[in-house]
């Protein structure tokens, strides 16, 4: 019978119905302490340290602090030090602050070749869906489930439904994979993919690089999806080749991985079609990623919204964001710009941002920072001279971490500050209490930093 990629991976991981085996467990400092403590309290071992890896990312300062014991914030220091101690105690490899391989957990997995097609991958972090870009089944879990995976290397899971989103045509110049996923969430809503493993397919997806594909799968959770997936192909295999964690018999495995793709005629619970060639650069205006418009549009008017729930939410969002209906998006002026996060902090994101600068400088009323996703991305960028380009234009060049995506470290917005951000969530207070976040692509954020207002990158000289 014709099967979807999801079904092939799911069924090959069933220990029994609703109990699936986990091939890789990624661990970070914020959602793991209670799970490690649970193991200790019940006298249980961590069953497969060789299928587990830890890194410090959420809490770490990006100011060059070289080691956990030097973190200024006492609570963050304690959490990162505890991660290191727990990893030692339970035999888990850990890339903590100061390690050459440290970085955002969803950046280092693919970077080290740990993320491979056909695997099940979990992490106590909702953006675990990122890894699905390699044709893996990857999803975020809570701390109780983290402990369950640590103790058993399995998860009790009900099989999700399946959805395929088919993108016809290819993206126009200036339109990126960030715009594609923002437009998708805008169309389907923040709960539009709830309960589904989503396969992104079609000509537009096949044309993307791996890092662009990761941006799409990363934001699946913002549409409520359980997991986002993309069929592995030559682009996938070439990206993986030579990375430290890949199998020794790589070419043999490649032939197996090719079999993972959805069979012709396989059926999905839901199918959506989107014309990728008609998409424009997107910018969010509100406090969910679904509150998004084309950069050429204006801030929407809640008064014309039909559903009372939607209207009320939009009114509250505009009050929080300090915006008036009808204001053209290109007239909105950010005081801050953040290029980083597990959505857009990989080397190609930084290359795109740097190449958009063209000798110009950050607007005098804007403070802009670039935060590489990992220590390796940082050193690669420095080898290519990108740090010079950013710094001479007036961008701050920081160390690796989650940084201002979630404000658990010193990189935060002040009350009322407006930020053009390449991250994934524009929730109230996400980047700092009272902070106002507008999500967009790295090139759009770069242009906003230089012009001091949002710009349509397609028209930008």
């Amino acid at each position: 019978m014709a099967m979807t990629m999801f079904e092939k991976i799911w069924e090959s991981h069933e220990v029994r119905e609703n109990l699936i085996y986990i091939d890789l467990h990624l661990v970070h400092e914020v959602t793991s302490p209670q799970a490690f403590e649970g193991l200790r309290m019940s006298g249980r071992a961590l069953r497969r340290p060789d299928k587990t890896v830890a890194t410090a990312d959420h809490n770490v300062p990006t100011d060059g602090t070289p080691a956990a014991n030097l973190i200024a914030d006492a609570l963050s220091r304690k959490q990162v030090e505890l991660l290191e101690a727990n990893a030692r105690e339970f035999g888990v490899p850990v890339f903590s602050l100061g390690s050459d391989s440290q970085g955002i957990v969803h950046v280092i997995g693919p970077e080290l070749g740990l993320t491979q097609p056909g695997m099940t991958i979990v992490c106590g972090d909702s953006h675990t869906s990122t890894h699905g870009a390699f044709g893996a089944l990857a999803f975020g879990i809570g701390t109780s489930e983290v402990e369950h995976v640590m103790a058993t290397q399995t998860l009790v899971q009900k099989r999700p439904k399946t959805m395929r989103i088919d993108y016809q045509g290819t993206l126009a110049p200036g339109v990126t994979s960030k715009d594609l996923i923002l437009a998708t969430i805008g169309r389907l809503g923040t709960a539009g993919m709830n309960g589904h493993a989503v396969e992104y397919a079609g000509e537009a997806i096949r044309a993307l690089t791996m890092e662009q594909r990761m941006t799409i799968c990363n934001m699946t959770i913002e549409g409520g999806g359980k997991a986002g997936m993309i069929a592995p192909d030559d682009t996938t295999f070439e990206y993986m080749r030579g990375r430290p964690g890949v199998p020794e018999d790589f070419d043999v495995k490649v032939e197996e991985w090719r079999q993972l793709v959805t069979d012709e005629g396989a059926s999905f619970d839901d199918e959506v079609e989107i014309d990728a060639s008609a998409l424009s650069p997107m910018v969010t205006w509100g406090t969910t990623p679904g509150m998004v418009v084309q950069v050429t549009d204006s801030v929407p008017d809640p008064a014309v919204m039909e559903s009372p729930v939607e209207r009320e939410a939009a009114e509250r969002a505009l009050a929080y964001m300090g915006l008036s209906p009808g204001t053209p998006m290109t007239e909105i002026r950010p005081e801050r710009v953040f290029i980083g996060s597990c959505t857009n902090s990989r080397i190609s994101d930084l290359r795109e941002a740097a190449s958009a600068i063209q000798g110009r400088s950050v607007h005098p009323e804007v403070r802009a920072m670039v935060v590489p996703g990992s220590a390796k991305v940082k050193s690669q960028a420095e080898e290519e001279g990108l740090d010079e380009i950013f710094q001479s234009a007036g961008f701050e060049w920081r160390g690796a971490g989650c940084s201002m995506c979630l404000g658990m470290n010193p990189d935060i917005l002040m009350e009322g500050e407006r930020c053009a951000s390449t991250s994934n969530r524009n929730f109230e207070g996400r980047q700092g209490k009272g902070g106002r976040t507008h999500l967009m692509s790295p090139t759009m954020a770069t242009a906003a930093a230089i012009e001091g207002h949002f710009v349509d990158i397609r028209e930008w000289e």
């Binding site: 991981h13 959602t31 403590e37 972090d125 909702s126 999803f139 701390t143 709960a191 359980k226 964690g245």
Partner: protein, 188 residues
């Protein structure tokens, strides 16, 4: 976790949609390394700014897509430690729903109209075994996965149940299933 049977009492209504876990428990409180001490920080910014007032009743009713965003289980711990025993909403995010069931905190999906009736009634009686929510406006049936229900009713420990099947896990690992993925301890 504590078994759930009947939940009865007053209702608190949070009439908002897309309430994300960043609002339920803001990030500055995620630096705790214990499972306790989160109740007083529930909806910290909204309550501090006087946007909402919440009474710690047994039943919370909320709008659609409750618990979206971050996977932080701290959100469930905070709701529970504040005093709620269950939450009723038209829909939940997947991870939040799952996190609830791992903590003996009952998530109930009811259509929006029925949620409003429960909120309007001000008090209700929930029977997990019968899958009913009864209030002045009527008696509503809700759906819940049979296995999740069994575990909630019994207050069963997921990990202990799975470890009782260790033989099957070991058999799986001895087969082709055990060979997938990298050896993390060999990567540097």
């Amino acid at each position: 976790m504590e078994p759930i049977d009947v939940i009865e009492g007053d209702v608190t209504f949070l009439d908002r949609s897309d309430v994300d876990t960043d609002q339920i428990i803001p990030k500055q409180f995620l630096k705790r390394v214990e499972r306790t001490g989160f109740g007083e920080f529930l909806f910290y910014d909204w309550i501090k700014d006087g946007e909402i007032e919440l009474s710690p009743n047994p039943i919370l009713v909320a709008g659609p897509n409750f618990g979206s965003g971050s996977s932080r289980e701290h959100a469930v711990w905070a709701l529970q430690q504040f005093g709620f025993d269950c939450v009723i909403a038209p829909s939940f995010s997947d991870i939040f729903y799952s996190n609830c069931t791992k903590n003996g905190f009952l998530p109930i999906v009811l259509p929006e109209e029925e949620c409003r009736q429960v909120a309007g009634a001000g008090e209700a009686r929930i029977e997990l075994d019968n899958q009913t929510v009864a209030c002045d406006g009527g008696k509503f049936l809700f759906q819940i996965d049979g296995e999740i229900k069994r575990r909630l009713l019994g207050g069963l420990d997921d990990i202990a149940l799975t470890l009782a099947e260790l033989d099957s896990i070991e058999r799986f690992e001895d087969g082709p299933g055990g060979t997938r993925g990298p050896v993390t301890t060999a990567v540097d």
